[in-house]
């Protein structure tokens, strides 16, 4: 027997779908800028009709992403204020689960850790992506509006932002690859963990 549990609201389903597309656009228009010397990057840049057009798309997708992050944070804060359970917050149990599962993988424990609505992996993914996105948004805004930014901030923050933006992009891409493993290629859920598209998860009873 399986019990059907509502995990994601329609709002979260939409949010994820949009984030997925925007993230892909940002990666596709961003990485060739980082690795501008590679032939493949030059081919992709040409595909967009030149670096100016590619930057235009990257910057506007980035601005849209900033908006989305703001909505996400405000929406989250409001629901928490209204008394929603903080199911996505990392607790002590998540660290215990991580160590438990590590022992399980290595054969020191017979069964894997039990989980609540979100596994420790999903929580770490989520917070990795959220904090990373905030960092990308802030540094991206500085890079997008360099003259305005240096009206109030010291100039050194411009090259600093560039360094953070270009390095943290790689970290985000790696987290997303991990996310793709966990929700697509993971043999336990392959070909796809559908919960983020249907909104439901199933619990063995």
């Amino acid at each position: 027997m399986e019990e059907r549990i509502k995990k994601f609201s329609s709002f979260r389903i939409c949010e994820h779908a949009i984030a997925m597309i925007v993230f892909f656009v940002l990666v596709f228009t961003g990485l060739p800028q980082k690795f501008y010397n590679l032939e493949i990057s030059k081919a992709i840049i040409n595909l967009f009709g030149g670096i100016d057009m590619m930057r235009f798309i990257h910057r506007n997708a980035g601005l849209f992403f900033c908006l989305q992050i703001s909505v996400h944070i405000i929406y989250g804060a409001v629901t928490l204020y209204r008394g929603a359970e903080p199911v996505i917050f990392i607790t002590k149990k998540d660290f215990k689960d991580a160590i438990h599962n590590l022992r399980y993988y290595l054969g020191f424990d017979a069964i894997p850790a039990t989980t609540g609505l979100f596994t420790y992996r999903q929580k770490f993914e989520y917070w990795g992506v959220l904090t990373g996105s905030i960092l990308m948004a802030l540094t991206g805004l500085i890079l997008r509006f360099p003259v305005t930014a240096t009206d109030i901030l010291p100039g050194i923050l411009l090259p600093a932002s560039k360094l953070i933006h270009t390095n943290h992009a790689i970290i985000l891409v790696i987290i997303i690859i991990w996310h793709l493993y966990n929700s697509v290629f993971n043999p336990e859920v392959f070909p796809l963990n559908r919960s983020i598209f249907t909104g439901y998860v199933y619990k063995r009873v």
Partner: protein
């Protein structure tokens, strides 16, 4: 007789030219008979373009090289600059006050560039075109990336490579590539001369506040609203170091540790998970 062909001891036909200048211009055709390669190059030059538009003061061969007293031009670089001075006097005045010109005049330094080193000699192109502008880093790099010249003066050879890996330089390289692919990026990108000047290039100096003040002026020619903080965004041609740019150095170090840590951590998660799954089956 090779030059004044058509004449001999017995015959001296009359040639009709309206002006002396017409005769000079026509005479330069004589040089073509031996110096065909140079002649062809001049056809691509801005001087020829101006000449063919009817402005006859544009120079032809003998205006620079002379006629009966033709000498090799390469012995003393200053002689070349003097030739150009005859028409481009104001530019010459500016040039001899520049770091390059001063060394040429005061020290007879032969390493410094004179006019033709940047503008070429026979096929001088219009220096105000985008094509010329985008070749400037390459022109400067001929000397400024050359250790055998730069070491003598204690100058860095990384100036061009650091420029090319910065925002302006990257964009410039991509624009150049795009032009080859028939795309037309329209914006001009800052090149060496936009910050350092052209004929008035001066020593950078040591006083940081002065450098910053001058730099702000240059920044503002493209970014008119730039504040006093803005020039600090340019961390100079020397790359990242713990002493000069501690913040950037720290960020670099953090990611040097964080990146492999994240990759290794997540890869281990995946590998262990797959391994456990395989063992269980």
């Amino acid at each position: 007789m090779d030059c004044h062909f058509g004449f001999s001891l017995s015959s001296h036909p009359e040639r009709n030219f309206k002006t002396r200048r017409d005769y000079t211009i026509a005479s330069s055709e004589i040089c073509r008979r031996c110096h065909f390669d140079k002649y062809v190059k001049t056809l691509e030059s801005i001087h020829y373009t101006i000449l063919s538009s009817g402005r006859l003061e544009a120079p032809v061969c003998i205006d620079c090289h002379g006629f009966h007293s033709i000498q090799s031009m390469g012995r003393e670089k200053v002689l070349i600059a003097k030739r150009c001075e005859r028409c481009h006097a104001t530019i010459y005045e500016t040039y001899i006050k520049s770091v390059h010109g001063k060394a040429l005049i005061d020290e007879r330094n032969q390493d410094v560039p004179v006019c033709i080193d940047c503008h070429t000699s026979h096929d001088i192109k219009d220096p105000l075109t985008t094509d010329y502008r985008e070749r400037i880093p390459e022109i400067c790099s001929r000397c400024h990336s050359e250790p055998s010249i730069m070491n003598k003066y204690g100058l860095s050879t990384d100036v061009v490579s650091t420029y090319l890996s910065d925002f302006h330089g990257i964009t410039l390289s991509l624009y150049k590539k795009e032009r080859k692919d028939k795309l037309q990026p329209s914006r001009p990108m800052a090149v060496c001369t936009d910050c350092h000047g052209t004929h008035d290039i001066s020593r950078m100096g040591i006083d940081k506040t002065v450098i910053k003040k001058n730099l702000l002026k240059k920044c503002r020619s493209c970014h008119p609203d730039a504040s006093e903080n803005f020039p600090d965004a340019w961390v100079s041609h020397y790359g990242i170091s713990p002493k000069k740019t501690p913040l950037l150095y720290a960020i670099n170090q953090i990611y040097r540790i964080l990146l492999p840590l994240v990759i290794a951590g997540l890869a281990l998660q995946v590998v262990l998970h797959i391994w456990r799954y395989a063992v269980n089956r």
